[in-house]
């Protein structure tokens, strides 16, 4: 087990080096001169002399790999540079935004799971009934709706027409309801479809019919099914974290929620490259680490894996 974790950690380090390299390369290749961009973002009048000085002070005249190494070493120590716009450290901005994005993302994820888990078990047990058909229709529609569309439609019907909810998100239940719904509906639709397929597969396995024939109580069989499905469910949940981050950019921009997504979108509008860089690196790290933790969870859920990996 320890061997496996170490192996995965080494793999993770390799991936993160490549991810950080690509993130840096992306900014390096971005059109225009970084020094000019920094000065423009600050609204400084640009002359040839000032640009050359700024280039020197930013270390832009050094070779590419030296610049990357320098940036990566600083990033490792939690220093992601300073915002072009206001000179504040990027890391601080990200940490501030993280709190808001975490509130939004965790609430949305919880909402999606609370709806999707029971519904998918129920529809898998009652396959091809009216309930199943209706759930499938709605999960299909939910899965097909882009979250910006849900936001705008919710805004129209709940704010403009019915005056029920505020247009700008705040930390009350009412203020969070719309952004969370917009973020969780597509994810919930996908969860129901994928969970249902997984439960159906498990229910069709011989151990289920065997247990039922031996007269084992339904709820014990269901417990086994849940246990055996948990690996797939964890994987699906882990992969949807990426969707959550992407969606948060859209939702936070629409509802003016001061999280990571809005920070990134504002940075794009202002051409504030260090902030964009920090956002991409940070979300990718969180995404990769969460999925590694889920991989490690597999062997905790499934003792067979523990044994196999111990041998290898």
């Amino acid at each position: 087990m320890a061997k496996y974790i170490v192996k995965r950690l080494i793999h993770l380090i390799g991936i993160m080096i490549a991810v950080s390299f690509l993130t840096f390369l992306l900014m390096y290749l971005s059109p225009g001169d970084a020094a000019a961009k920094k000065l423009n973002a600050q609204g400084v009048a640009v002359s040839e002399e000032i640009i050359e000085k700024t280039r020197e002070s930013m270390g832009l005249n050094r070779p590419f790999l030296v610049q990357y190494g320098d940036w990566a070493l600083h990033a490792l120590q939690g220093d992601l540079g300073e915002s072009y716009k206001d000179g504040f450290p990027v890391a601080g901005k990200l940490v501030k935004g993280l709190r808001y994005t975490a509130i939004l993302a965790l609430t949305s994820m919880a909402l999606a799971l609370v709806v999707a888990l029971p519904l998918s078990i129920l529809t898998a047990l009652k396959k091809d009934t009216l309930l199943d058909d209706i759930t499938r229709l709605f999960s299909f529609i939910g899965n097909s709706l882009p979250n910006f569309l849900i936001s705008v439609l919710l805004m129209y019907f709940l704010c403009v027409r019915a005056h029920l909810l505020p247009l700008v998100a705040n930390e009350s239940i009412k203020g969070l309801l719309m952004p969370c719904l917009a973020l969780s509906i597509p994810i919930c639709g996908r969860f129901i479809r994928q969970f249902r397929a997984e439960f159906l597969e498990q229910l069709g396995k011989p151990y289920v019919s065997g247990a039922m024939l031996r007269g084992v109580k339904r709820r014990y069989v269901l417990k086994n099914v849940l246990h055996n499905s948990s690996i797939s469910i964890l994987t699906i949940v882990g992969l949807s974290i990426g969707t959550l981050f992407g969606g948060s950019v859209v939702i936070e921009t629409i509802f003016r929620w001061p999280g990571l997504g809005k920070l990134a979108m504002d940075a794009i509008t202002n051409r504030d490259y260090p902030v964009i860089q920090g956002f991409v690196l940070f979300t990718s790290t969180v995404y990769v680490v969460i999925n590694l933790l889920i991989d490690i969870c597999y062997s905790w859920v499934d003792p067979r894996l523990r044994k196999k990996e111990g041998d290898s």
Binding site: V19, D128, F148, L149, Y156, G246
Partner: protein, 277 residues
């Protein structure tokens, strides 16, 4: 199992219906200029935010442009770009995956590690960053989505090639002196195409949502060019005054994405049955 038992005929009929619907959408987008009741780009101060009427079936936006014509013209950006993007990523990913699976070794590690790294980025996060840095435009938005899109096909194609590589018929082809190129294109490709096509079919809707999302954020297709995502974004400030300017492109997006997603489902079900039999 009471109602629709999924027979091949039933599935084939369903597939035909949705292929036809998707076909109609594609035809509409091709002949869109002929269908427009008005010029989608002509502005008019006298017709600002007009409610739907005989002259403007879906009303006008804040510049007095005909929403109906803009929705019709917008179908081009949405449908073309999604289909083209899926086709490009499908080809690139399949070629890379087959090469990686067949040759193995260094090439395999290189391609697959690159795919691993691409998958470490949340897809939309990377797309937003790439499109945001490169600036607007349909081409940049497609590049931003495609940068991670190819990995799906590459991994699938590689896994399939690895599974088939040691099959007797592949050895036979090799022994009879077929070149590596001939084995890859004539022996392997037809056998691995099914699952790849299913993935491609289900990806059209995903790509459509992605490109519309980027345009909505203002980093995909930008004004004045007609595109549903950007139309929804620019009109949402006028939601109270002119809700039709948001609702028309919204409904168009929902219908189009649903039809293409359902088509993807049909193709997948078809193949599942094919495998079972």
């Amino acid at each position: 199992m009471k109602k629709h038992v999924k027979t091949r005929t039933y599935l084939r009929r369903r597939l035909a219906v949705f292929l036809m619907l998707a076909g109609i959408l594609v035809v509409i987008s091709i002949i869109a200029p002929l269908l427009c009741p008005n010029d989608p780009y002509s502005t008019s101060a006298a017709d600002m935010n007009r409610a739907p009427c005989a002259q403007f079936p879906f009303g006008t936006d804040r510049y007095g442009r005909c929403i109906c014509s803009r929705v019709l013209m917008g179908s081009r950006a949405s449908i073309y770009s999604a289909v083209a993007l899926v086709a490009l990523t499908f080809i690139a990913g399949t070629v890379l995956g087959v090469l990686a699976g067949w040759y193995g070794g260094f090439l395999d590690s290189l391609i697959m590690r690159l795919a691993d790294v691409m998958l470490a980025f949340p897809q939309m996060v990377l797309a937003i960053a790439v499109a945001g840095i490169l600036g607007g435009g349909l081409g940049n938005a497609m590049l931003a989505m495609g940068i991670t899109g190819w990995t799906l096909y590459a991994r699938l194609a590689r896994a399939q090639v690895l599974a088939l590589k040691e099959e007797p018929y592949v050895h036979a082809a090799r022994l009879s002196g077929c070149s590596a190129w001939a084995i890859m294109t004539k022996t392997l490709l037809p056998n691995i195409l099914g699952p790849l096509l299913v993935t491609a079919a289900t990806q059209i809707g995903v790509m459509m949502i992605g490109i519309a999302g980027l345009s909505f954020l203002g980093i995909g297709v930008t004004e004045p060019q007609a595109e549903w995502g950007s139309m929804i974004n620019t009109s949402r400030a006028y939601l109270q005054l002119a809700p039709w300017a948001v609702l028309a492109p919204a409904v168009a997006t929902i219908i189009t994405v649903m039809i293409f997603n359902y088509l993807g489902d049909c193709v997948r079900d078809m193949l599942d049955v094919g495998v079972e039999q």
